[in-house]
Symmetry: C2
Subunit: 345 residues, 2 copies
């Protein structure tokens, strides 16, 4: 417990030089001969010296850490691979630059802002990721005058001038609808995430537009909280309605899986009676039968891009919006042409 960790002073003593020389040597600054530098580095290595991050933060003014606050319930979060994959991508970039990641889960947006303010006030982080951007996101405004460097994970329209790291969900929606329409579907419904999320709104708008372009009736949209339960309820309601949809598009994986159960309950066969599409392919979408047709994207890559942008921003660079590659639709076993019209009841 009481193991004393070595400091620059210890190295200086051992090397018979001043602390300053040690600092120069270890930071590859001019000011010491190469021989001294090498010997100092050797001693540092031997002693197992590491820079005290607190002291560095105090002088350099950098915490060498970035923060991520998450406001979804742990249960939802745990089931969707999105977050862990995103974080793993973030960390590949942070690790290279020896940046640390601070994580906190909170219950609401007020707390989210509060945690960011505290982190920044305490100089614990140099910047933050704003996840799950909302259509009218209070955080953007609340953090503006603090000077906290932040990147928004979401579409630029709602980022309020913050660099937006986003993937064009609209394009993916068009791809899905074109595919379903080509199969012959005319009645599509979507079981979406929370309406407040900006990317939900983007998908909503794109869906309406895509249906128009495809010349099919506008799709029904039901918003949920992303849980399997809510997804099941929504799917059930849609499938027992008079003119039931022949294709259901879900905003995450767990809701799509829940829909398989609902279809079974109702004696409907997938994909013969109803086609199902999930958003974000995951291990989950591939262990069920039929495997789910899904949108797939490089989520770790998304995280890496966001981290790169944030570090650049912290470094004082001008960072613009970055659009990630499109998510691609991958047809699996859960999509097929619709049953002959009118749909059998």
């Amino acid at each position: 417990m009481a193991v004393k960790r070595p400091t620059m002073a210890d190295i200086a003593r051992r090397a018979g030089v001043s602390k300053v020389a040690v600092s120069y040597a270890l930071n590859d600054q001019p000011g010491v001969s190469e021989a001294t530098r090498a010997s100092i580095k050797n001693i540092a290595e031997e002693l197992g010296w590491r820079p005290n991050s607190a002291a560095r933060a105090l002088t350099g003014g950098r915490a060498q850490a970035v923060g991520l606050v998450v406001r979804r319930p742990a249960r939802t979060l745990g089931v969707e691979p999105f977050f862990m994959e995103f974080i793993s991508g973030v960390e590949t970039v942070l690790a290279e630059r020896s940046y640390a990641l601070m994580l906190q889960m909170v219950a609401d947006q007020a707390q989210e802002v509060e945690v960011c303010r505290r982190w920044w006030g305490e100089r614990r982080v140099d910047g933050v990721f704003l996840m799950d951007l909302q259509t009218d996101d209070a955080r953007v405004e609340a953090l503006r005058d603090t000077g906290l460097p932040a990147v928004a994970i979401g579409p630029p329209e709602v980022a309020g001038g913050l660099p937006a790291i986003w993937s064009d969900d609209g394009e993916s929606v068009h791809e899905i609808v074109r595919y379903l329409a080509a199969l012959g579907h005319r009645r599509i419904a979507r079981v979406a995430g929370p309406a407040a999320f900006a990317h939900t709104a983007v998908r909503d708008a794109a869906l309406a537009e895509a249906c128009r372009e495809a010349g099919i009736p506008e799709a029904t949209v039901v918003h949920t909280d992303y849980t399997g339960d809510a997804g099941a309820r929504a799917a059930r309601a849609l499938l027992i309605a008079p003119a039931r949809p022949t294709a259901l598009v879900f905003d995450n994986d767990i809701m799509a899986v829940a829909a398989l159960s609902v279809a079974q309950e109702l004696g409907l066969s997938i994909p013969a009676d109803v086609s199902v599409v999930a958003w974000d392919e995951s291990p989950l979408t591939q262990v069920v039968r039929p495997m789910l047709s899904a949108v797939t994207r490089d989520i770790p890559g998304y995280g890496a891009t966001a981290a790169t942008a944030l570090l650049a921003l912290i470094g004082g660079e001008d960072v613009g919006d970055v659009r990630e590659g499109y998510a691609h639709f991958v047809p699996r076993g859960s999509t097929a042409p619709p049953p002959p019209d009118p749909a059998p009841r």
Copy 2:
């Protein structure tokens, strides 16, 4: 960006007192009159002052942060709610004490040790959680002489003297086997996690013992990497074997879900032909049909206990092993009496 954050010196100037008085006032130390204290606190509030964590860490010697290094692939991690739920429990405790959580994902155990060493050397953390304890865990030894406070998440036998925060998986295994035996099952197989994990070994041993006690043949155990794919392969192999088991017990949720698909593939009905049990009930186990009989435990509570223990350890208290409450077996629709013997092929 360049918004200057207020320091104690700013407050002292405004209040017309010394920096020391400010420190005393803000930290509720004796040394200032109540009137002065109140006025200083007011000014601090007005200015939006927050203690600079780097300066505090430098003087106090405490980083006010703890670390968690995770060594599972992001994809697996994302699907199992365990981690996010565990972390959410950890954070409820940390938040109360204004401790932060540092998170890092790594590829192997060497890196895991290295990250801990670095964090500790840099004084970024005051302690760490050791997750996924192995039967012969190199980390315990590697970290011992560093003095890094750590709690082991796993059984005491392998914690090497570190405080072990554990839930008695053995007891849950007994409960499952007693239940299955009572239903009439005699051929049980278990699709387990990696053999190297200590909690896997505990379950392995308990399973053998429980079968003996129940007077049924020893259960077959197949070790996997926790992925749905591996689970499906293992389940398939077991179910096409000559004397196939009538009950399958899985070490996580995703593998159990995969087994439903495999059964369907093979034309076997669950639970009529085969019973299925999952470990750790999750949203996932409840959205599939039949719902999976599963072991359920308070995972956030587990995380909270671990965090409490770690903070106590950091505080210099004597911390012993803490056993969490048992996980309980909850029968749902995936378990039933076995089909008449001999099993139909």
